[in-house]
Amino acid sequence: MRFLMMQKPTDTAPDEKLFAEMAAFVEELTAAGVLLATGGLESGGIRMSSQGDEITVTDGPFAEAKEAAAGFALIEVGSKEEAIELGRRFRKIVGDGESTIQQVFG
């Protein structure tokens, strides 16, 4: 099963220490053979919506930036519990904040 782990942005700017820890975490996931892809996401980005024939393109930043994702990891594991266990390790590294784990179908 594949799971997408997404990290929401925090108020505090990430420091050197966090970057180093994140790199170690990514290395560990790679060595464990479960990490398929990972990356950071620009804040805001571009928002698109459509209504009838009309498509609206809006550049960020947006007011509700907290709800967006700041980074992701796509992992392949055998069960939801394994994904949660990996999420637990991740949360320990990044400190206070919030992330989501969603199963990827197809």
Binding site: T30, A31, G33, V34, L74, E76, G78, E81, G106
Partner: protein, 670 residues
């Protein structure tokens, strides 16, 4: 696991175990020098978790918790077992805290090497790897390989015993054998992958999960030994094959061939990972090995936007290179397919036809399936249909059976439609309307009556082989002496003269019965040696068919075959045969003097003994992989330093191979 554990905690424990077991067991094995014991200690920790976590809650760092508890047990064990200062020192350092990442990774690598020890059989290596490295439970392994759980448990227990007996301990193989061991690890991973890949939609998901486990272990291994091109090659191959997993099963569970797959359903992420892994293999600048070449072939398919755009010339060239390194029948068959695609079906058919006399491909369904495909492309639907039907008889896989049935039916349809039939097909069709087929004739022949049960059984064996090799719908009129001779030589060419003559006699009387006596003309009668008085199996002490010449089965190691054969032919006591030294052997007179008596043997043993001696001039004839005790110089091979095979070990190996005791074999020989 105890029922007291709440399901969610239990599942968390299972998840932690899967992620951590290799590291935990590997670390323990380094302490106690025995993987079997290491695994038991780790299991103790797992049981402790199951008892404590439901009440106390899941600890902050569950992996570390399990490691600490397991280590504590290991230290207790070492203290109990040994009071030697060195061991206590080990115990203290062991208990002391965390390990560097490199050390942990080294443990995992060594664990993989031990699980794929050459003393273990293939199935044992697979089971042990899945259990100790991938952290699967016996029940999961049993479900994945469609066997029952006690059998897996027995297999794993036996494997641990063998490792202990071989003194495998937990040492990393020397540099000389590392390469060989690594290829054994790669083989095991690829076997696990393929077991999962061949699972069909209707089956237990755990089977398909084997692909994920193999990929996980492969990616893990690639980080452990980043300089090994073949490891990256295998990972690339698995990623690329896995990328097609969804597209190769159709909506009703049927198998979809590569060139018919919807390429939009291929997993681009895995394809990209496959490309990346192959690039890493190339960066090592080693000459391409078998896995790298197979991955390169998979890349050719992945790069083609449509089936028609596939670069078959390049694939055929890669197969040319692969067949030189890995001249297995299956690779040769794939090469024939590639040549058929690159240069035309007639060239492919020539290659495929040349493979028909290879015994290993005798019952391999893909050979007739490939020939069927090539024949259909050459516009010979009747012959193609026959091949698809033959293939159908040879596979047990439901999806593949359905696919072959579909192809056979298509061919039958083409046969009837005059528009689709060219000259060759028309001839085929016309003949089909009037003449009798091999299947019908064989059934009628067997049903003709007047045959006693033993003869009937013997006749059936002959026909089963003929029908499998030629297909039920082959017309009797098309049966030629050449074809019959090829089938018989492939099937029984190396069998005893008596067996050969028995099948020959069946075919002769069948030929006469159906008015085609000439079909047996190429089968030459073979001289039968007079059997030794009272000799031959089965005999007293053996329960008949259970033990038919185990030494004739070339899947057994040479040492075992020579040993059994020598026991059988000489009827000498087991301990006498084990005591034989190379310098005692008189190869010309087929005898040896040992312990005041002569041991003599016959032609079959004499044929194999030189291979076993392999240039040695003295020392024990039958060796183990172990070194002997220092006080037993007579049991030490001066060439290799290895020890004489023991009675216990010899008995164990024979029992495992045949279910009988050596004494029974020896009594039978008299």
């Amino acid at each position: 696991m105890p029922d007291s554990a709440r399901p969610d905690v239990r599942r968390t424990i299972e998840a932690v175990w899967k992620l951590e077991s290799a590291r935990i067991v590997g670390g323990l094995a380094r302490l106690v020098h025995d993987v079997g014991l290491a695994e038991e200690l780790a299991q103790d920790a797992l049981v402790a978790a199951l008892e404590q976590w439901p009440a106390a809650g899941v600890p902050d760092n569950p992996g570390a918790w399990l490691t600490t508890v397991a280590r504590r047990r290991a230290v207790d064990h070492i203290r109990r077992a040994q009071t030697a200062t060195a061991q206590t020192a080990t115990a203290q350092t062991a208990a002391a805290g965390t390990l560097a990442l490199e050390e942990e990774q080294d443990d995992v690598l060594r664990l993989l090497f031990v699980c794929c020890h050459p003393a273990l059989e293939r199935d044992a290596r697979i089971a042990l790897t899945l259990r100790l490295v991938a952290g699967l439970a016996n029940a999961e392994i049993a479900r994945a390989f469609l066997v029952d759980e006690p059998r897996v448990a027995r297999r794993i227990a036996a494997a641990k015993q063998i490792l202990a007996a071989e003194g495998a301990g937990f040492t990393r193989p020397g540099t000389a054998s590392t390469a060989g061991r690594l290829s054994s690890v790669l083989e095991v991973l690829y076997l696990i992958f393929n077991e999962g890949y061949s699972a069909t939609a209707g089956e237990d998901l755990i089977r398909a999960d084997l692909c994920r486990e193999a990929l996980r272990l492969g990616r893990m291994l690639a980080e452990l030994v980043p300089g090994e091109a073949e490891v990256h090659g295998l990972v690339a191959l698995m990623e690329l094959q896995a990328s097609r997993a969804a597209a190769r099963i159709g909506p009703t569970g049927e198998l979809v061939l590569l060139h018919e797959q919807n390429r939009g359903r291929w997993d681009r992420l895995l394809i990209r990972r496959g490309f990346a892994a192959l690039l890493r293999a190339r960066e090592t600048s080693s000459p391409p090995g078998p896995y790298v070449l197979q991955a390169a072939i998979a890349v050719c398919h992945a790069q083609a936007p449509t089936a028609e755009a596939t670069d078959w010339h390049r694939i055929a060239k890669l197969y040319d290179a692969l067949v030189r390194l890995l001249p297995t029948p299956v690779v040769q068959l794939n090469r024939a397919v590639a040549i058929g695609m690159a240069y035309g079906p007639e060239f492919g058919l020539t290659e495929a036809d040349a493979l028909q006399s290879i015994p290993a491909l005798r019952d391999y369904y893909l050979l007739p399936a490939v020939r069927g495909d090539l024949l259909s492309r050459l516009g010979r639907p009747a012959a193609a249909r026959r091949e698809f039907e033959r293939a159908l008889l040879l596979t047990q896989n439901r999806a593949e059976q359905e696919f072959l049935h579909r192809r056979a039916t298509e061919m039958a349809g083409q046969n009837k439609s005059p528009a689709a039939a060219d000259a060759a097909a028309a001839v085929d069709a016309e003949a089909a309307a009037t003449a009798e087929t091999l299947g019908e004739a064989a059934a009628a022949f067997l049903a003709k009556g007047g045959l006693d049960p033993a003869t009937l059984r013997s006749y059936r064996q002959t026909f089963t082989r003929l029908r499998r090799a030629l297909g039920d719908s082959l017309l009797i009129d098309e049966l030629t002496a050449d074809v019959v001779a090829t089938v018989c030589t492939t099937a029984w060419g190396s069998a005893a003269p008596r067996t050969w003559n028995r099948h020959r006699a069946t075919i002769r009387s069948f030929g006469v019965w159906c008015g085609r006596p000439e079909i047996a003309t190429e089968l030459i009668r073979r001289a039968e040696k007079a059997s030794p008085p009272g000799g031959g199996l089965p005999a007293a002490g053996l329960s008949g068919a259970d033990l038919t010449a185990p030494w004739a089965d070339s899947r057994h190691p040479l040492r075992e075959r020579v040993f059994w054969l020598l026991l059988h032919e000489s009827a000498a006591p087991v301990s006498t045969v084990l005591a034989l030294n190379v310098e005692d052997l008189d190869l010309d007179d087929r005898r040896a003097r040992v312990g005041g008596r002569w041991v003599t043997w016959r032609a079959a043993t004499a044929r194999l003994v030189p291979d076993l001696i392999a240039g040695r001039a003295s020392g024990p004839l039958f060796l183990t992989a172990r070194r002997p005790a220092p006080d037993a110089p007579a049991d030490r091979c001066p060439h290799t330093g290895r020890a004489r095979l023991s009675y216990e070990r010899a008995e164990y190996l024979f029992k495992r191979a045949t279910g009988h005791t050596l004494k029974q074999l020896r009594t039978a020989a008299r």
